[in-house]
């Protein structure tokens, strides 16, 4: 298949050369004449004229005007010389033969020229169709491309297919491709002089370089990419010739499509940035409001209680009650600071878990010990699989995860109810489940509870709404997932799945024997 195509392509390129066409025309006419000479005696020489006419019109569909003219002239003269009696002279005896010869000559020439013209029209139509197709295909691919990099790739491929083997698209800086204002961003390595030309073209919005009225020190022809609201950048082509006429129109249409697509990406990205700024502004306000509130309450408790202790003569009983208030308030402050620090770690995107092998018992034990007071009113159930292997995790991060989940349970579930920690290992994953018998979550808010600063509607005061988003962030840092659900019997259930291969303890039989 491919080989056949290759041969066809080779023939086509050979045919496009002028002298080959002339040679071919002569050859074919010659062969036809030889063929006709073989039955010159015994048949009407008018038949030969039809055969020659047929061959010439055939040739005119494949060859250019020049070769066709040559073929027609040659066949007319040859017909006269070889076939019209008397043979082997150009002399024509009969007047009607002179007329036929003249007609033959005219018909051959006209049909040759006409066919060539039709053929050129057809070629032009085909060329136009090809361009339309190319534009259509570019439109389709550009609309599919997402992201500036992708758009640039599609555009460069298109350009190399239709215009120039080498092209460079250089873009203005933006949020996605940050640079100093005014500095252009190149996806390719170009020498400094070329970039200066790019800069000039971008600033002046005019083409420059080879084949333009702005000759500069460059190998390329540079075109500005102009959009309707901003100019996204410039494009450079390595051109063999100046673009004129049809190709110029085609190129301009092509460039418009590319400009629009890149502009679309830029505008989309700007809109996103505005949304992001809005969002972070809103978050900032929320954070400020809630933090000042959250800080003020424990501080008020500490100030009030300690003031009373210092300035009034309180009984021993009151004294111990007040100091307990101070202690509680300080714990609350401490939790707040912990959560804020953790949140900022997540926000900065720089959590790299320091994982090590751990006995899950240690984790649960540590957290339940820290929460002894809070857990006192509840009945705590810990269920750990018999076959639980060691798991690989960052103890500090997972401690916070479990702490926040358990602390939440103690804040929402009614006293004396059951809080359950369940732990198992399956298919290379640690499964950790914390469930309570509290009110659970409103179904329509389940999807929001891991968002930062999100508080369930109508939940009692206290807390920033950071706890669960920290949990999610830390679990995600372990490449794990967390899901929340309402238990069928009432209450909330959090399920954490963290990938952890089984530890390699094969070498444990041969430790260095100590004395």
């Amino acid at each position: 298949m491919n080989r056949k195509k290759g041969i066809l392509r080779q023939t086509a390129s050979l045919l496009s050369k002028g002298w080959v066409q002339y040679l071919l025309a002569l050859l074919i006419i010659g062969v036809t004449l030889l063929f006709c000479l073989s039955f010159r005696e015994g048949s009407d020489y008018h038949l030969v004229s039809f055969i020659l006419l047929f061959v010439v019109s055939l040739l005119s569909t494949y060859l250019g005007t020049g070769p066709v003219l040559l073929a027609s002239t040659m066949s007319a003269l040859a017909w006269d010389y070889f076939f019209i009696p008397p043979h082997n002279t150009f002399k024509i005896d009969r007047t009607d033969d002179i007329l036929i010869f003249g007609l033959f000559f005219v018909i051959v020439v006209v049909s040759g020229i006409l066919t060539t013209r039709v053929r050129r029209q057809e070629m032009l139509a085909r060329e136009r169709e090809r361009k339309t197709n190319a534009l259509f295909q570019l439109t389709r691919e550009l609309s599919k491309a997402s992201g500036i990099g992708e758009v640039v790739r599609v555009a460069t491929e298109g350009i190399s297919a239709h215009f120039s083997p080498e092209s460079h698209i250089i873009l203005r800086p933006s949020h996605l491709i940050p640079r100093k204002e005014g500095e252009l961003v190149s996806y390719d390595q170009l020498p400094e002089t070329e970039l200066q030309v790019a800069q000039w073209v971008f600033i002046h919005s005019r083409k420059a370089g080879v084949f333009t009225d702005q000759p500069m020190e460059t190998r390329y022809t540079w075109y500005p990419l102009t959009g309707s609201r901003l100019n996204p950048g410039v494009v450079a082509l390595l051109q063999e010739a100046s673009f004129d006429g049809e190709i110029k129109t085609f190129w301009e249409a092509y460039m418009t499509l590319i400009s629009n697509a890149i502009e679309r990406e830029f505008l989309g990205e700007m809109a996103q940035k505005v949304r992001f700024l809005d969002e972070s502004d809103r978050l900032y306000k929320t954070l400020f409001n809630s933090i000042s509130h959250e800080l003020r309450i424990p501080v008020a408790a500490i100030m009030g209680a300690s003031d009373t202790i210092v300035n009034t003569n309180v009984s021993h009983k009151v004294l111990s009650a007040l100091t307990r208030e101070i202690f509680t308030a300080s714990l609350r402050l401490n939790r707040l600071i912990e959560n804020l620090l953790n949140m900022s770690r997540i926000e900065s995107g720089h959590i790299s878990p320091r994982t090590d092998w751990h006995d899950i018992n240690d984790l649960i034990n540590k957290v339940t010990t820290d929460l002894t007071d809070e857990l006192k009113p509840f009945s705590l159930r810990v269920e750990i699989d018999q076959e639980m292997p060691l798991v690989r995790l960052d103890f500090g991060l997972m401690e916070q995860v479990l702490y926040n989940l358990l602390y939440n349970a103690t804040q929402y579930a009614p006293a004396t109810s059951e809080v359950t920690i369940r732990c198992s290992y399956s298919a290379g994953n640690l499964n950790l489940e914390v469930s309570d018998q509290g009110p659970g979550f409103p179904e329509d808010e389940l999807k929001d509870i891991f968002r930062k600063f999100y508080r369930i509607r109508g939940s009692h005061s206290g807390g920033l709404g950071l706890g669960l988003s920290i949990v999610k962030g830390f679990v995600a840092a372990h490449n794990g997932t967390i899901t929340a659900a309402n238990r069928s019997g009432g209450g909330a259930r959090f399920t954490i799945v963290i990938p952890s291969e089984e530890p390699d303890i094969t070498g444990w039989k041969t430790p260095a024997s100590p004395e």
Partner: protein
Amino acid sequence: MTEQENILIIDDENQIRRLLDITLSANGFRTMLTPNGKEGLVMAATHHPGLVILDLGLPDIDGHEVLKKLREWYFKPVIILSVRSAEEEIIRALDHGANDYLTKPFRTGELLARVRAALRTGENKTGEAVIVSGKVNIDLANHVVRKQEEIIKLTSTEFSLLSLLAQNRGRVLTHQFILKEVWGFGYIEQSQYLRVFIAQLRKKLEDDPAKPAMIVTESGIGYRFN
């Protein structure tokens, strides 16, 4: 009585120093206070305190440096104060001779418990042959471990792990230190061995292996024998 012990506090934070002073004095200890490391070293040399509480973040010289200088001649307990989630700092200090650590903010109850435990270590350190913790009796000389008079069979690795922990009672031993002492240098990254053996020891010796009272985990740092 140990409660008369002299304690040197090296911490640059005024409020923390005052708090430590009040708490320790109220519990019968005598205290000496200094906000900087150099003065701390001089005071330790002249007054021979029974215990040093050292903050790692000092303004004049690095706390680790103070610890190193101190350990050249001072063999009594040193407790490190550090900020939370600075595990690497803590591990480094423990590996350089600190006995124990506390992270700020700490509960004073915790502080007193650590101070008392550390002072007891200082006393017991002189090669006791039999160590008793709760119902467990460890006879180091004869390699025999009993729980309520019943002999518990331990493998040789389990026994060397247990005796290392017991001989450093009250002191936090880091994972790497234990791995190096019991298994050897090539194993200091193989923390899974340590976890498995600790779990086995707990299963054999602890009343409730899920809530160990004797071999306590110091999260992310190491283990402590009580």
